[in-house]
């Protein structure tokens, strides 16, 4: 291959495919390289994508994409060792138009990359990009083995551990900015899932857990319902995991055996285990001469406590990168100043706006009381309310008694929480 591309995209995940699809539709000559055997082969996420971002690119995508279930039920469970308190929100308006879907990435990412190919992009799997190709201190292509491929712009869509962004000097990896996620896919019949989660067919549930499941380490656990499987996993901040002396894999095992969880997964068959790091607060430089960084590679992720957005941000950033490349090609200028239009687009879209809105959230979510004191408190309070053993007290009196000596701390955390999330 001696031709020069308009753009080379490193990584065929959602950010890369969104950029490749958009640029191909605009008529540009795009190459997307993927180190896996197929797009999605290396990709892991909890299991839910909000529909908003992709719907702007491919309207009504769910009619053709391999989505699992449309989420209509949102649950938040506070777990202690023996008991749990669950907030269960059910809303059929989340169905029409669809708000979010559970997804299995190996299938979904292949479909999305193939959409880019149908639009005219070239996809080459089985290629690991070893380095960026530089000329006069600007990125002019990629190096893969002995091959050197040239392009006007390179788009780094190589995920949470973006070696491209690092090589370009745009990223430093710090353990305190990352979480580690582990996940199992557990197979059931569709009917079992619908019965256990109280769902109609095609409808799905997303359940988040905080408390005992992470042994008070900041993080949480999740269950997402797929068509005939559950995606079940744990996420913890790596720094605090290391400090706690707890073994990552043991958290996964113990979560499975918590009484509240064991009932939900009884009789199921584990068919896959996976793990990946998550850039919880790892911001990256978004561009340099000849290079744009998108998706997880750029640390574009928002955790508002309830909504966790990563894939949606990836797609929106891929689309914005394509738009910026189009303008840069029009001006035939691929230097920083010209490519900074990408950042302008992200600021004016939900991507950087949401990151700004929730900028305090990563710090707040590292408060260990959220994972120890509060789930325990909720469980103990409900235990008092449920128990009949002689004279009963009013709810407020039980609350006052249970929170004795902790009230100022609780009020402080509440205020911080309201400002952060």
């Amino acid at each position: 291959m001696s031709e020069k591309f308009d753009a080379i995209i490193v990584g065929a995940g959602p950010a890369g495919s969104a950029a490749a699809y958009s640029l191909a539709k605009m008529g540009f000559n795009v190459l997307m390289v993927e180190r896996g055997k197929y797009p999605g082969a290396k990709n892991v996420m909890g299991g839910r994508m909000y529909a908003y971002a992709l719907n702007r690119l491919i309207p009504d995508f769910w009619k053709e994409a391999p989505v699992e279930r449309c989420v209509t039920r949102e649950k938040l469970t506070l777990l202690s060792e023996k008991s749990s308190v669950t907030l269960d929100f059910q809303d059929n308006e989340l169905l029409e138009p669809p708000n979010s879907f559970t997804i299995l990435r190996a299938k979904f990412d292949q479909w999305f990359a193939n959409k880019a190919v149908e639009a005219g992009a070239t996809l080459i799997p089985n290629i690991r990009v070893d380095d960026l190709l530089w000329k006069d201190k600007r990125v002019v292509g990629i190096v893969a083995g002995t091959d050197k491929l040239e392009a006007n712009v390179v788009i780094a869509a190589d995920g949470a551990v973006s070696l491209m962004a690092e090589k370009a000097g745009l990223k430093k990896f710090l353990a305190k900015e990352f979480a580690i996620g582990m996940k199992e896919i557990i197979e059931f019949s569709g009917k079992t899932i619908e019965d256990r989660f109280n769902l109609a067919s095609e409808e799905g549930a997303a359940q988040l857990f905080i408390g005992q499941c992470t042994k008070q380490i900041p993080g949480g656990a999740f269950i997402y319902t797929n068509k005939t499987s559950l995606s079940l996993g744990i996420v913890v901040y790596i720094n605090q995991l290391i400090e706690s002396k707890v073994e990552a894999y043991e958290l996964m095992r113990e979560f499975n055996s918590n009484p509240a969880i064991a009932k939900l997964i009884a009789g199921g068959k584990i068919v896959e285990y996976s793990a990946h790091v998550i850039p919880e607060s790892s911001r990256t430089g978004l561009f340099t001469d000849g290079l744009l960084v998108v998706g997880d590679a750029a640390g574009l992720l928002v955790n508002s406590g309830i909504t966790l957005m990563g894939m949606d941000m990836a797609i929106a950033s891929g689309m914005a990168a394509a738009e910026a490349v189009k303008i840069a090609i029009g001006k035939n200028d691929f230097l920083k100043k010209s490519l900074s239009y990408y950042e302008y687009l992200l600021k004016n879209d939900f991507v950087l706006a949401d990151m700004h809105t929730f900028k305090r959230s990563p710090k707040f979510l590292q408060n260990t009381r959220l994972y120890s004191l509060y789930p325990e408190l909720a469980c103990k309070l409900f235990h008092r309310l449920a128990l009949v053993k002689g004279p009963k007290k009013r709810l407020f009196d039980e609350f006052l008694e249970e929170t004795k000596g902790k009230k100022i701390q609780i009020i402080r955390d509440l205020i911080k929480g309201l400002r952060s999330l």
Partner: protein, 91 residues
């Protein structure tokens, strides 16, 4: 459900390369008292054999944690060559 990490990794498909994609400078590990790699690696690829850290790159899930979670910088992380390593069926 109690399932060992070995059984768990047995469920996953790998194309194992001859070439190691992660190299560990074990002379640095000897100075490390805490050895957190024994705990943070989700597929338990770091083990202690006769007091020495051993890393087995086969069965690595390429999660990326050891690239930055090793506090001593003893891990030289890269990805397996194109087409090699883990390939998820569900993901």
């Amino acid at each position: 459900m109690n399932i060992s990490i070995e059984d768990q990794l047995g469920l996953i498909s790998f194309e194992v390369d001859k070439e190691k994609h992660i190299k560990v400078e074990t002379s640095i590990c000897r100075q490390c008292v805490d050895k957190p790699c024994l705990r943070f690696c989700p597929s338990k690829r770091f083990t202690l054999e006769k007091g020495e850290i051993v890393h087995n790159y086969e069965g690595c899930l390429e999660c990326g944690s050891c690239k930055f979670a090793c506090p001593k910088g003893a891990v030289d992380f890269s990805y397996p060559r194109g087409g090699y390593g883990v390939y998820y069926k569900y993901g």
